[in-house]
């Protein structure tokens, strides 16, 4: 049975999630990828306020295709996460509790997740048409000039993800593959 998660996601809730848990996320999440992460971290390093509140925030690494008239969003699947590794530890220290992406994370990110209590979710890469159906509303809240890379506030319903790395550092990419190979 998938775990239902309602955002914002507290550190206590994040700590309860375990690698391999299937989850359905509902509520508000924010989009940000390479360029937006760079700007957020530059602001934070200068001690300036961020355009979104990072406390208990879940960030989705996505740059959607343009919405057609009358629709909330275009195709919207995850992008590869390691490109955000340079920025994630700072955002986690500022309150970010959940990241949604795909692919491996660096040790510096996992260390920050363990220290502060955050979780890394995977959504199925290359399934943007399917995942967009869970996005009910989308509005740009910062960096409109970045186009697909602007920060959007998404309202999602039962957005399907799986916990890839939990706040203990357990990693489904390692355990899932090992379990499969041992079954052979």
């Amino acid at each position: 049975m998938p775990v239902s998660i309602k955002t914002p996601l507290s550190r206590e809730q994040a700590r309860q999630l375990k690698a391999g848990d299937s989850c359905l996320i509902s509520g508000v999440i924010y989009t940000a990828r390479d360029a937006a992460h760079k700007r957020l971290c530059e602001l934070a390093e200068q001690g300036k306020p961020l355009p979104i509140d990072m406390t208990d925030a879940v960030i989705y690494y996505v740059g959607p295709t343009p919405a057609r008239p009358g629709e909330a969003i275009g195709s919207a699947g995850p992008t590869t996460s390691y490109r955000m590794d340079a920025y994630s530890p700072l955002l986690i220290s500022l309150g970010e509790t959940g990241m949604i992406g795909k692919g491996k994370r660096g040790p510096e990110v996992v260390a920050a997740m363990k220290e502060h209590g955050a979780v890394y979710f995977g959504a199925i890469g290359g399934c943007g048409a399917l995942l967009s159906q869970c996005v009910k509303k989308a509005e740009i809240v910062a960096y409109e000039d970045l186009g697909a890379e602007a920060i959007r506030r998404l309202e999602v319903e039962d957005f399907p993800v799986i916990v890839v790395i939990d706040s203990q550092g357990n990693n489904l990419y390692e355990t899932g593959r090992q379990a499969y190979l041992e079954s052979k």
């Binding site: 295709t65 343009p66 275009g74 919207a76 699947g77 692919g103 890469g125 943007g128 048409a129 899932g176």
Partner: protein, 279 residues
């Protein structure tokens, strides 16, 4: 001499950009569904089911299969007996501009690799032109996503490394990539030529349908062996474990220098897209 107006090429490129991004090629669908039926690991089966569901939704509702609608790689095979009136390069870029706007596709190109300002219309196309006999123009558009492009590698092996060196390198590239390029992947391999030619061959290899083996029996056998070895790695769909790590290994080979054995591996995802029209 046949006359073709560059404007006709704009129209075809525009149409192909849209169609390629919405409709997965039939050979890819067949291969994904065949792998789904052979997969015995439950989490992997579940992911392959979602992947099938996704391309069905995209195809039925005219939606991009993936939000990374790619850099537009455009391959032109121009007959030597054709004269194109107008600016060919500008015509191709105009086709990309129109297709990406009309098709609600994502604009993912920056004007400079270091200053990184988005061009806003997904131009320029990555344009490859080949002159061939005849009086036709064959146009292929292959939108290339960068999650997989970033996982590609090239290596200048020594001739003494031989076929084993090639196999070890290809497996290493897939292992290094792990879950990042959205497995199950298609592995394009270019062997021989020069540094740049090997990379081009690897990209060309990704244009070949996944159900079509290399015409040379030796390389067809190598493709089959590499596919089996890659699918024994256990990476699986999305990297969560399973048999289906790769859908196909496509190799293109070419003469090379006595001192060299260049090998390029261009990775593509389960949304390996390309569409062709002939004028």
């Amino acid at each position: 001499m046949r006359e073709i107006d560059a404007g006709q090429i704009t129209q075809v490129v525009s149409r192909l950009c849209i169609q390629a991004n919405r409709q997965l090629p039939q050979d890819m669908k067949n291969q994904i569904e065949a792998c789904r039926s052979q997969e015995d690991w439950a989490p992997a089966k579940e992911i392959l089911d979602r992947i099938v569901e996704n391309y069905q939704i995209a195809g039925d509702n005219d939606r991009p299969i993936c939000q990374d609608t790619g850099m537009a790689c455009v391959f032109l095979k121009i007959g030597q007996d054709v004269h194109i009136s107008g600016d060919l390069r500008a015509a191709v870029d105009e086709g990309v501009r129109q297709g990406y706007a009309e098709g609600f596709l994502r604009k993912s190109v920056v004007r400079d690799p270091l200053d990184r300002v988005n061009t806003g219309d997904n131009t320029p196309a990555m344009l490859y032109i080949d002159l061939v006999p005849g009086q036709e123009v064959e146009i292929t558009v292959a939108p290339k996503g960068f999650g997989s492009e970033n996982m590609s590698q090239i290596k200048m092996l020594r001739p003494s490394d031989g076929v084993q060196g090639v196999k070890d390198f290809v497996r290493k590239v897939v292992e290094d990539a792990g879950p990042n390029p959205c497995p199950p992947i298609v592995v394009g391999v270019g062997i021989g030529g020069t540094f740049d030619k090997a990379a081009y061959l690897a990209k060309q290899a990704l244009m070949r349908p996944v159900d079509q083996r290399n015409a040379a029996p030796y390389y067809a056998q190598l493709e089959a062996e590499l596919l089996e070895e890659i699918n024994a790695l256990g990476i699986g769909p999305q990297g969560f474990g399973g048999r289906t790590t790769a859908l196909a290994v496509n190799i293109e080979q070419c003469p090379t220098h006595i001192a060299g054995l260049p090998v390029a591996v261009n990775i593509n995802c389960h949304v390996t897209r390309h569409k062709t029209e002939v004028l």
